[in-house]
């Protein structure tokens, strides 16, 4: 290789500059310096401007009591709790609904894609219509339609739909299911005093289930004999806990808490608000259409010959799907699924439009009450970013595991 510096016409500074490596290093340094300057300058300006306006960020307000009341919460919270706790309440609401949406939309998406790739013309077209319609409606519209046109149109609490209506001794009207535009109240088992004993039975049942699973997987490794591990361990758990329940004398460890109509709302039992359910169902519908398409991309990415070969070996269509096609389809489907799941946590922020107290909604309240817009927006950005990065990391780990290992 002829070095540029050895050329007599290209010595000195000029020659140095004509060396591609030196030149690219120079440009990169200049570019980097520019970026650093930009960042420092911008940050300096922001701080200076904010100081001038008395808006300098400080997070001390997070420890002050919030004075707000949240309608739906997974942990204890009242007006005396701190702003930080309010953020946590919102975060938990967001995470809880996101997790359920991801699980439910995966199942629904799987069902839709099975219809979509079905050889039945009608079923396949219906699935296609579903995907195209849902995918092309803005999510906010979907939520508003669901909330306004469906939930708000249900009968009021006074004329609610009730199942197994009963009147208690106190003259209260109860039912195992109360459906109104307030949402759904369901009879729900709650632990009684006897639960303190019963929980040892449950722990024992869990131990038996784990042991079953361990035994079955050990046997698989030893003999290669496959068996439905999850099914057997679930059965073991149910059997032990059921026998325990029958053997216990006296008061049962659970009692069904029946929702009763109060003056304004029903109380007791499990309560699913219209807002929660609107957001949940809207998100599940919307996400499932995308999930179905990601699955379809995966399934169609598997060469047709694979399925044909499996069928030729006498393997049934469903078994061939499960053992041959889906393991290979997963590899293709996971990266797009990751992006879809990342979107879910962010999309829950639209709950603010229909009155669901998610992270974003509660943040808005705190901003209004404290005026600390900049701090809260930064905090919320950081939280959403962390949620996304965690989801992404989890999906990457899974992706690595299912990836074909080339040897």
């Amino acid at each position: 290789m002829r070095m540029p510096s050895s050329n007599p016409r290209l010595t000195g500074l000029r020659g140095l500059f004509q060396d591609t490596r030196v030149r690219s290093l120079l440009w990169q340094t200049a570019f980097f310096a520019m970026l650093v300057f930009l960042f420092v300058d911008a940050a300096g300006n922001v701080v200076e401007a904010l100081t001038k306006r008395g808006m300098l960020p400080s997070f001390g307000f997070l420890r002050l009591s919030s004075g707000i009341v949240v309608g739906e919460k997974l942990i204890e919270f009242d007006g005396a709790s701190s702003n930080l706790r309010a953020v946590v309440v919102g975060l938990l609401n967001t995470l809880f609904i996101s997790a359920l949406v991801i699980a439910a939309s995966s199942l629904l998406g799987l069902f839709v894609v099975l219809c979509r790739i079905s050889s039945n013309w009608l079923v396949s077209r219906l699935a296609k219509a579903y995907i195209e319609i849902i995918r092309n409606i803005p999510l906010l519209m979907l939520l508003l339609i669901w909330y306004r046109a469906f939930f708000l149109q249900m009968p009021g609490i006074k004329s609610a739909i009730m199942l197994n209506k009963t009147v208690t001794e106190g003259g209260e009207v109860g039912a195992s299911l109360i459906l109104s535009n307030r949402g759904l109240f369901l009879g729900w088992p709650v632990p009684t005093d006897r639960f303190a004993v019963y929980r040892y039975v449950l722990a024992g049942a869990l131990a038996v289930a784990v042991a079953t699973a361990a035994f079955l997987s050990a046997r698989y490794r030893r003999t290669g004999k496959k068996s439905p591990v999850v099914l057997w361990s679930a059965l073991a758990f149910l059997a032990v806990s059921g026998i325990g329940l029958l053997c216990m004398s006296g008061e049962p460890p659970f009692r069904i808490d029946v929702p009763r109509l109060g003056k304004f709302n029903a109380k007791g039992g499990l309560y699913i608000s219209s807002e929660w359910f609107s957001l949940f169902s809207g998100l599940v519908l919307y996400t499932s259409a995308f999930v179905a398409e990601a699955f379809r991309a995966g399934i169609q990415g598997v060469p047709k010959g694979q399925l044909e070969a499996a069928r030729a070996l006498g393997i049934g269509r469903l078994r061939a799907m499960r053992l041959v096609v889906i393991p290979q389809a997963k590899i293709v489907a996971i990266p797009p699924l990751t992006s879809i799941f990342l979107g879910v946590a962010k999309n829950t922020s639209l709950g603010v439009a229909i009155g669901f107290p998610d992270l974003f909604s509660i943040t808005g309240t705190i901003i209004n009450q404290t005026g600390r817009a900049l701090e809260m927006i930064l905090l919320v950005m950081a939280i959403y970013l962390s949620i996304s990065l965690c989801t992404s990391a989890l999906m990457n780990v899974y992706n690595k595991r299912v990836q074909l290992v080339e040897r």
């Binding site: 440009w27 008395g54 439009a353 817009a373």
Partner: protein, 341 residues
């Protein structure tokens, strides 16, 4: 290499434009130079400030902005309205996006200090109450134990609600909405038992609803909601202009000067304060950096407080809002203008 050079040029331009130092100088100068005032307002509060289908703004608060534009430019139309949600409003003012905030903002100590704002004297003394269905049997706040209560997020009402319910040991379920539209939809569909807000807003909204007579506002007023205009800290001259323009509206009503009789009064009045007020003698306007006839212009082109109020909220309108304490001190109210001397 050429491409990289372009990138560098682009970045330097960005540095200069985006990260340039915030401009110095008085707000009045900036407004004059721009040629119009930028006012932060509501766009969906019927009677107070709302966007009409033809794209223009109307309402009591809009008239206040027009009065301010008249004081500066002698032209009520020199205003650009910025529709803001209650969540955005203070940030918009702090960052200098608007010159003045006239958006049913309650004057509180925290907002005055923590947000580095200056509030004028209140232009309306409001108070929070509850709207309920007549057939719900709710007469007092104590009847609301266990109720679902709809409230707009981002309002002082949200805090007041939790405070008064806590003070009385009452339980309730809040239902928070960001937009008034969604709140109204849910409330009138029976999703909530009560809706809490300032009395004026409740009256204004309920009256525009077809089954208005099925609903009633509770007697009790549970909070003080002095609605005031706000400007940023650090420009006292600008604050004076906003404050004294409001006083001009107050004094107009107090002295009975209306847009109809202002010319006659200007020509004939012997009252030295009225003479100073209308710029006949003592060019008071110049002390504010305005024209000598600024107050005359405001009364002539916009009207006094009573005229402005009656135009959008008074007895002739569907809202017919009770003025309560928002009448001149001479009639036992709290509207009191310091002397124009």
């Amino acid at each position: 290499m050429k491409r990289i050079a372009w990138v560098l040029v682009l970045f330097s331009v960005l540095t200069v434009s985006v990260f340039a130092q915030p401009k110095q100088g008085s707000t009045l100068e900036a407004v004059r130079k721009r040629g119009y005032l930028i006012a932060g307002v509501n766009s969906s509060n019927a009677g107070w400030a709302y966007l009409k289908s033809n794209g223009s703004y109307e309402g009591f608060e809009i008239e206040l902005a027009k009065a301010l534009a008249t004081a500066i430019f002698n032209d009520p139309s020199k205003v650009q309205y910025r529709p803001l949600t209650s969540k955005e409003r203070f940030t918009a003012l702090q960052t200098g996006e608007i010159d003045v905030l006239i958006r049913t903002a309650t004057f509180t100590l925290t907002r005055d200090t923590d947000l580095a704002l200056n509030f004028t004297t209140p232009y309306f003394y409001d108070g929070q109450s509850f709207l309920v269905r007549k057939d719900s049997g709710v007469k007092t706040i104590d009847d609301l134990d266990g109720a679902t209560i709809a409230v707009l997020t981002g309002s002082t009402g949200e805090i007041t609600l939790s405070d008064i319910m806590a003070a009385r040991g009452l339980k309730y379920k809040p239902l928070l909405f960001e937009s008034l539209e969604e709140l109204k939809n849910a409330f009138f569909a029976g999703r909530a038992d009560a809706w809490t807000s300032d009395k004026s807003s409740l009256a204004a909204t309920a009256s525009s609803y077809p089954n208005a007579k099925d609903y009633v506002t509770l007697e009790a007023t549970v909070s003080k909601e002095p609605l005031a205009m706000a400007v940023r800290h650090g420009d006292d001259g600008w604050y004076d202009i906003v404050q004294w323009t409001l006083y001009a509206l107050f004094l107009g009503e107090e002295k009975g000067i209306t847009s109809a009789n202002v010319d006659k009064i200007k020509a004939s009045s012997k009252d030295p304060e009225i003479q100073a007020f209308l710029g006949v003698k003592d060019a008071l306007g110049q002390k504010l950096g305005l024209s000598p006839s600024w107050a005359y212009d405001v009364i002539k082109k916009v009207g006094n407080y009573e005229e402005v109020f009656n135009r959008y909220l008074g007895p002739g309108t569907i809202f017919n809002i009770t003025r309560g304490l928002s009448v001149p001190w001479t009639k036992g109210g709290l509207l009191y203008s310091p002397p124009f001397k």
